[in-house]
Symmetry: D2
Subunit: 361 residues, 4 copies
């Protein structure tokens, strides 16, 4: 239709019939270059061992930057990682004539949680409604309905379950209140404070203590300089109203998400986070990254597509029972990137790396 | 190294030697399914005509959702789109002993803008330093150095130019103050208020007036209901502290970015925006989306890779002089998705669409 | 000590011996002019009837502006008001070596809630620990410990109770973890998203439907114009990253807080809110204001001081069992001010009011 | 009207005829207890010497807490303070049919700045229009019109000047576009990111280096412990989405504002700020507080009222040419309070202070 000849787009190695649930108007593929960074050594609760991380990107130096962080981390004994919370949600809103009606409805919701859970459960085997958070705003009651979602990201599963729950509520509650399936307070595919505070998907922490010596020899930076640079960057982020006080979480997450068939639009939620560091008395630095809204899957969505599945398999993360392992790898990857880029900024070799490896040629 | 056989990852249709500036440790490609939505009719200042938009995604219903919005828009005569601002930046920070020194340095910066511009200009032909915004924070002076960047996204270009500028400043200014090339206030690859307010990349608006009749017949919704739903969604977004008061900008942008070789991590910046609508007296609805931090390119980065270039060519957007056209297409695409999803939420057919087309099978 | 003669500061009508719990280095009083606005007609759950509201301010037109809004509201039958949530908190933080330890400690907190509640209860009769919200950030666990506080604002009460709870926790939990009594996540005396989302003090809504006719005759504005102006103001507030999308909540609250012996510094928390309006089919406008962090008292603090107590008595709000009534009056007052100022901006008579009544003489 | 006898409210020491510009429906006064903290030693650009600071409050321990911080500061040689920016604004919004019209209008605004300045100047002698910042949002152009305002806070002055400017613009620009005098992006009486980033009123920094020894002997805390507590508090504030990463700016500012006839509602803007500290190699701590939106006056408003004027005179800040001196005192006061409360939290004596001095008796 456009007259452009799609030679490369039309080159793909799989049977398009695997695709109907993933795309409409299928025309071919985007071939995104894939590099491997690693090994990334993780001592997690679910991920344990050395991982070679597939990163699909067109940005020169990205793989090299993460690689450099991973080399530092391996000299510290690896990254600890842990999933500290896990919930996915849909946030419908019920609309009333006034605030008293909205608040009273909220009381009824609390009292009927079991029945609402049962209504939601009729639509899914793997998801379970765990809790409902309420926010009254004028005559509106926004519900944030939390679910476990197994190894799926769960947006669709929670959408179906919430529709069933809302239908039951509407039929049962006197007056049959109107609702919208989303009041925009789950902020799907959007960064938000509510997700930072109340978790969306996995809340994960990765952490490592990097010795002064390793920072000096491997990164060429003094740990005190590096720590001071962090104070400056963190104050800048606070003043700027930034979604993250770190350096480049989005880079690694986007590349890993594309490689492994995650919904890459969820990087908007996942990239928000808090880099917390401490300079220890001996000059070593404790690093941690907390990602409060990491929406990932090892089952469903794009995870089963051919190249994507191979990338998940590289990490031992394809299929059921793997999603927390994958979440820990995501966080450990982000930590590697933070150590690498923060050090580069302090060292001042940031631009020259791009000159050597990247597109500044 | 991992024992996984990479059959599909290893299938690509191009000569890897084109890649050195885009990736390290090249192993193969992620094959991301690509669908086409359109035609998207745009009456922009740079984009004019009907466009078939390549969307690389693994999320079922995404292409269909945007397609539906485009059908509505074509019945309204198309989308108007315009780039209202254009600047890319790097934000170094200079560190002093106290605030007076920081402020006085700021005065000197203002007085020496021409020399600073010249220092920056020595590194690039296509970028030009246009202005410097200052923020004093204690003994620190954060500079937000704005550039034009031609058809490149410009992160590297502005990094090099800023390093040259800072080196000149450091050598010239009495006392030779220390600096970091980034103080984190350009919030690269991060959503932030500073970028919403001061623009990063392109600030673009797309807008259309959709008649009550078209909303009724095409989307099955009454325009008053739809407008009320917008008030609820917008209040929810405000309460939630969301990066956007809209519905799904990240979905379309991510898919288009992957297809066309943009840096997909920039969706974190690009997805923040403001959906502004008005219900007109005749029941029609005026829609506009404002994207204040759209970082895009038609030259450099991944734009020249084989499948990516073909996708840009589909849009007539490959190469020099095309970036504003591409920015207008991005914004028009987002608007199509907003109209589609907001209507679907009002209609309540959102879940059933996913059941029919998507992964809820 | 400064050589200034304090003639007026030294004029006060009470025995300074009533003061030791309210001030140190007592020197006299600030005499803040007090005007009365009203009647403010409220149909609340606790406040019912017509109220004359004492406002201590030095800002010309403030009392007149609120008065004008009250006149409009009385013609609509008055303001409905309701307290939808009520909790005060202190947020200690416990510090561990790593995130696993922090998360495991959190599990223990949940399991030992009854004992923690008992420890807190030893310090106070009127406060009761109701729930504990947890946020893991790296190796830290921030607790947000919620209490009822009777008719007191409760900052000190919750501080004492939380110290007792933390001391018990520290002694009981293996390893005796270190803690700070505040990790800054209750954001005492500061606006924050966490308080908007999780409530601090009272969460109150005031609402009224104002007829098109009253808006036209009393305020001189067309309700459609006014509603459009709201969309513009609300979009501006969203773009600006404002604590409120309304017009002037802080004006009325500050004046009422000073008059009635509230801690006026709590206006920083109280002023954040959401003005939600709907244009009805008949042209009338439904207005609501939601204040999610209204910290107020009718007992303790400055409420018992001579002039302050008189002002509370004017409202029938002095002493035990009155705090929700007072909270409803606060919200109704804010609503009156919003209607007044939004109308004035639309009418364009804002500046001329200041010329006539205020300080632009 | 309410039947309450206003014995104390009716006691005031001045002739009510001084008041017509400050209040309507004058009934008497709120007598707010006033304590004095000091001396506060300042080495500012405008404030130099030892100051006794009048604080009007009903909160026990407030004066004592600030006093304690001042004692520490005096042992460090005093506080440095400086005003780094100074601008007050009104933000009208012009409304068009589409974004192109809005943007083109913006270009015209830039080209006609001198005429706009002249139109504004017709209304005031002390204010001067300095610059206009623009934000396009869909079909709207929000202007942020900055002024100098002499020794007045300037809200009314800038309102009048902006109305004159907008009237001139409307008459002159083809099509005579509609406008609202406020689009809510100056966020008057509201905390906002835009004010943190673009300054409202005075942007002031106060700073001091406190020796390890003084912290140990005077506050009883180890400087390393204190510095670590700051990292925790600052991370908590970032996660919470707080207006300030400090401890209690609002307490001191509110008390000083009430004492000196400032508009106390402006504390909502003033309390937002950034506490930036560094642990020096010798164990001393550098402290700085940056207040980006300090709206204050030494002329006009409530500054000329009897007790208020006396309080300004105590500081040598009454009348013309004093406002920057007063702004420096405000920031120095805030710094004293931060050092005091942060130390108290680390020491754990916070609750016991309230028990001894305050209302926990």
């Amino acid at each position: 239709m456009t007259g452009t000849e799609l030679h490369h787009v039309g080159q793909y190695s799989f049977d398009p019939s695997v695709l109907p649930g993933n795309i409409e108007n299928f025309t071919g593929v985007a071939q995104v270059p894939l590099g491997v960074a690693g090994p990334l050594r993780i001592n997690g609760e679910h991920a344990n061992g050395d991982f070679y991380v597939p990163l699909a990107t067109t940005e020169g130096t990205l793989v090299a930057s993460y690689n450099r962080g991973m080399r530092v981390l391996i000299e510290t004994g690896g990254v600890r990682a842990t999933v500290v919370d896990d919930k996915m949600q849909r946030s419908p809103v019920f609309m009333f004539d006034n605030a008293v009606a909205a608040r009273d409805f909220g009381t009824w919701i609390d009292e009927n949680l079991e029945d609402i859970r049962a209504a939601a459960a009729s639509t899914t085997r793997s998801g379970r409604l765990t809790s409902i958070v309420q926010h009254v705003l004028g005559p509106l009651l926004y519900l944030r309905i939390n679910y476990t979602t197994g190894d799926a990201a769960g947006q669709n599963m929670t959408g179906k379950a919430t529709l069933a729950a809302c239908d039951w509520i509407q039929q049962t509650y006197p007056g049959h209140p109107r609702f919208l399936l989303s009041g925009n307070t789950e902020t799907d595919k959007k960064h938000s404070h509510i997700n930072v505070l109340l978790t969306r998907g996995k809340r994960v922490v990765a952490e490592a203590t990097v010795s002064r010596e390793v920072l000096r020899t491997r990164m060429g930076v003094d740990s005190r300089d590096l720590y001071r640079a962090r104070q400056v960057a963190q104050s800048g982020a606070f003043m700027a109203g930034s979604a993250s006080n770190g350096a480049q979480a989005a880079n690694g997450l986007t590349a890993l998400f594309i490689a492994t068939g995650q919904d890459a639009a969820n990087v908007t939620e996942a990239h928000g986070g808090i880099l917390y560091t401490q300079l220890l008395d001996n000059g070593d630095i404790y690093w941690s990254i907390t990602l409060p809204a990491l929406v990932v899957a090892t089952y469903g969505g794009g995870t089963g597509l051919p190249s994507q599945r191979e990338c998940l398999e590289m990490l031992g993360c394809y299929g059921a029972g793997k999603v927390r392992k994958f979440a820990e790898i995501c966080a450990a990857l982000v930590l590697a990137g933070e150590i690498s880029l923060v050090s580069a900024i302090v060292l001042g070799d940031w631009v020259s790396s791009h000159d050597e490896l990247g597109r500044n040629r």
